[in-house]
């Protein structure tokens, strides 16, 4: 009797299995119950509650679905697809959880995403994915920050030798501990910028020392001044500086518009200068008028003679032996007598002075060699080549390399003189 009822039910069940998608879950469960419980089915790992709104009614068949897993019963051959999705999702989620636990957030995110492909409506999976993604992002940000910090530390480690060897400025407050030893040894040249910074530091210390104790610590002041100048000299004496470097190495020299007592300098007002000019509109030559008049007359006479127009060709005038050749390269033309007053007051006694009037003769031969120095009247005919021309004119060969070497030595000598002029300890 019992079997008589079972046969039609079996047939109905077989039909239902042929169209599983049409059959409801409840009917299917009934059929499973008829077929009996399969044996040795493993428990699914980490059963998770499913959102009731997920579309799958798992309230009471989650275990049943697993019971219909891998073995047992003929109905297992017709295992429905959704069951595999859950299991697959569960397996993948388990792997994702392990990856997350190991801190492998990137893999965890990937696995959670894969799991969600099987159970896209799994809110818990979605939450876990979100958590893993945020953890991964935070982890990446932290790593980037650590990398940046390490990079900065490396750069700082590289820059350390470039830092100024000059000790830091002393605090304005007096410290009980001994002051650092100051030497006049110049700061090591690293770059023009670094030297400029060092110079500023030393200058500030000098100014502080001058301001705080202008007379009590002259020794330290001397040393600092020497250090300041030496550091600067060492830097500007280099031959590899660019114009920009040299510009940056300019010293900071103060401008004192008032003296040490606060007094203003001497002044010539516009009025006094203008008055002086106005008074001199009709200049009174005083004693010099005679000589200027004589010179003007003398030259006028010569102009009348046409000498000027003839290119100033003149012959040396015969003079008394006591003055002939006395004045060197002057072509003496004549002698006039001038009156010189003892002072600039009217009626003063005047002295009669013999004045030799002459012309400066251009040397007929253009070249004169004196101790290796070359004088050339044609030196400026072609300014760009005059060194070569001048040297060749006296039988030599101009060597530009030697010239520049000589020039460099010469300029270095002049440079040293400038350094001495700028001064050090004596220039307190």
């Amino acid at each position: 009797m019992k079997h008589s009822h079972a046969i039609p039910l079996f047939l109905l069940g077989a039909l239902a299995l042929g169209t599983p998608h049409i059959i409801t879950a409840g009917a299917y469960d009934d059929l499973v119950g008829i077929g009996g419980q399969p044996g040795n089915v493993p428990e699914p790992s980490n059963p998770e509650p499913v959102d009731p709104s997920s579309g799958y009614d798992n309230s009471d068949n989650s275990n049943d679905s697993s019971n219909t897993g891998n073995s047992g019963g003929i109905f297992n051959w017709f295992k429905p697809k959704p069951v595999d999705h859950y299991q697959k999702a569960a397996e993948i989620r388990a792997r994702a959880d392990r990856a997350y636990g190991k801190g492998n957030y990137s893999d965890a995110v990937k696995l959670y995403k894969r799991a969600l492909r099987h159970t896209p409506n799994d809110a818990d999976l979605a939450r876990k994915l979100s958590t893993a993604e945020s953890t991964l992002a935070a982890n990446r940000a932290r790593r980037n920050h650590e990398r940046h910090v390490r990079q900065q530390e490396r750069e700082a480690a590289h820059k350390k030798p470039l830092q100024s060897p000059v000790p830091p400025l002393p605090a304005t407050t007096v410290r009980p501990k001994p002051s650092p030893i100051i030497t006049a040894v110049p700061a090591t040249f690293v770059s023009a910028t670094q030297t400029r910074s060092s110079l500023r530091d030393i200058k500030v210390r000098i100014d502080v020392l001058r301001k705080n104790s202008p007379t009590s610590d002259l020794h330290t002041l001397d040393i600092l001044l020497a250090k300041y100048v030496n550091t600067w000299v060492q830097a500007v004496s280099r031959n590899d500086l660019t114009d920009k470097d040299r510009e940056s190495l300019q010293l900071e020299i103060p401008v004192r518009d008032v003296d040490e007592t606060g007094g203003k300098p001497a002044s010539i007002s516009k009025n006094s200068a203008t008055e002086a000019l106005a008074a001199n509109e009709e200049p009174s030559y005083g004693g010099s008028r005679d000589l200027e008049t004589m010179l003007a007359r003398f030259n006028a006479d010569r102009a009348q003679q046409g000498a000027e127009q003839l290119g100033e060709k003149v012959a040396e005038t015969i003079f008394p032996e006591n003055i002939a050749g006395k004045f060197g390269d002057i072509l003496a033309l004549g002698k006039v007598s001038g009156e010189l007053s003892r002072d600039n007051t009217p009626g003063a006694i005047k002295e009669v002075v013999d004045i030799i009037i002459g012309k400066l003769a251009i040397p007929q031969a253009s070249f004169a060699v004196d101790g290796g120095r070359i004088y050339s009247a044609t030196a400026f005919l072609a300014l760009n080549k005059f060194m070569e021309d001048s040297t060749q004119a006296v039988g030599g060969t101009f060597n530009r390399k030697e010239f520049w070497e000589s020039l460099r030595n010469q300029m270095n000598t002049g440079q040293k003189a400038v350094m001495e002029w700028i001064g050090g300890p004596d220039g307190k």
Binding site: S341, I362, L381
Partner: protein, 328 residues
């Protein structure tokens, strides 16, 4: 009779040949003169000499001054071809007595030192100290020239030297003048048009620019002694005492604006004007050189007069002997 005729013919032939050969000998002599590297005493040649144009010298016969060329001038033709810009020229003499000429605001030459170079920026003046230092001013800076970087030796005819600034000037358009014991005077113009004179003492440069004069007019020349500073403005020379800050105009005036001022070892004042060079004797300026636009510099008892039209520099040794006239 025949012998007499023969003698006459011989004499005639000899005479003709003599006259025909003379020009050749003269040309040969002239060529020899040009070819030979001549002696410095060429001016003693009795033949007519070419004299410097528009220049007359007037020296008291009793003075022991000797005149020589520190730098021979160009010939007249060469000077015309050179097309020199005379107003832009600068002049100074170094401690060895060698002239330095600024041809414009970039080129500096010193034939005696075999120096020719361009500056990387326009300069407004330069001067030499007794110690051998050469200082250069630009519109805003005080500095000096240094040898160019090795890489810049490109074989160009005129190299560009480097300029090392020492300090920023207190004003614009610095003009440099040297005083006693390598004291440096720096005249600058303020943006408002006023002019200031500052002093930098050797070895105490770091102490700063010390202002010693304010004036409304442009400063044309500065010279100094240990206690006094002389400043030329317009046609007047002022005596300034930096300690007492007293300004005293000298009673002597001159007929043309002063362009330069120098002082001899015996504290005699020499001025240059647009028309010549004059010396202060007994309170009046006496002309000793009449020439257009000369520049002057006194170094170790010698007055150097630069003639910009020909680039020649004449040295007047023992110029301080002019002071003897004060006692005549």
């Amino acid at each position: 009779m025949e012998n007499n005729i023969r003698i006459i013919i011989y004499i005639a032939v000899f005479t003709i040949s003599l006259f025909s050969c003379l020009p050749m000998v003269a040309v040969a002599q002239q060529n020899d003169q040009q070819a030979a590297p001549a002696t410095p005493a060429a001016t003693r040649d009795p033949a007519p000499a070419e004299a410097l144009l528009n220049t007359t010298i007037a020296l008291p016969a009793s003075c022991s001054i000797r005149v020589r060329w520190a730098q021979p001038p160009m010939g007249h033709a060469a000077a015309e071809k050179a097309r020199l810009r005379i107003p832009d020229m600068s002049f100074s003499v170094d401690a060895d007595g060698n002239p330095w000429i600024g041809l414009d605001d970039h080129r500096i030459v010193s034939p005696a030192n075999m120096f020719e170079a361009k500056t990387p920026m326009p300069f407004t003046g330069f001067t030499h100290l007794d110690s051998g230092a050469m200082l250069v001013s630009t519109v805003t800076k005080l500095g000096f020239l240094v040898a160019p970087r090795a890489a810049s030796d490109t074989g160009q005819p005129m190299q560009v030297v480097s300029f090392q600034p020492i300090a920023q000037l207190p004003g614009l358009y610095g003009r440099l003048y040297t005083g006693p014991a390598d004291t440096l005077y720096v005249a600058v113009t303020r943006p408002g048009g006023t002019n200031d004179l500052y002093r930098l003492k050797p070895g105490a440069v770091l102490k700063g620019f010390e202002k010693i004069l304010e004036t409304a007019e442009e400063i044309a020349g500065v010279a100094g002694t240990d206690k006094k500073v002389f400043v030329a403005i317009g046609r007047q020379v002022y005596e300034i005492s930096p300690e007492t800050k007293r300004v005293t105009p000298l009673p002597a005036t001159i007929s043309h604006p002063i362009t330069g001022l120098a002082i001899t070892p015996r504290n005699g004042l020499i001025v240059s004007t647009s028309r010549g060079v004059s010396y202060l004797i007994n309170g009046t300026f006496e002309t000793i050189v009449e020439t257009p636009n000369p520049r002057i510099c006194v170094r170790k008892g010698t007055l150097y007069v630069f003639f910009p039209a020909s680039l020649g520099v004449a040295a007047f040794d023992s110029i301080a002997s002019l002071a003897d006239l004060n006692h005549q």
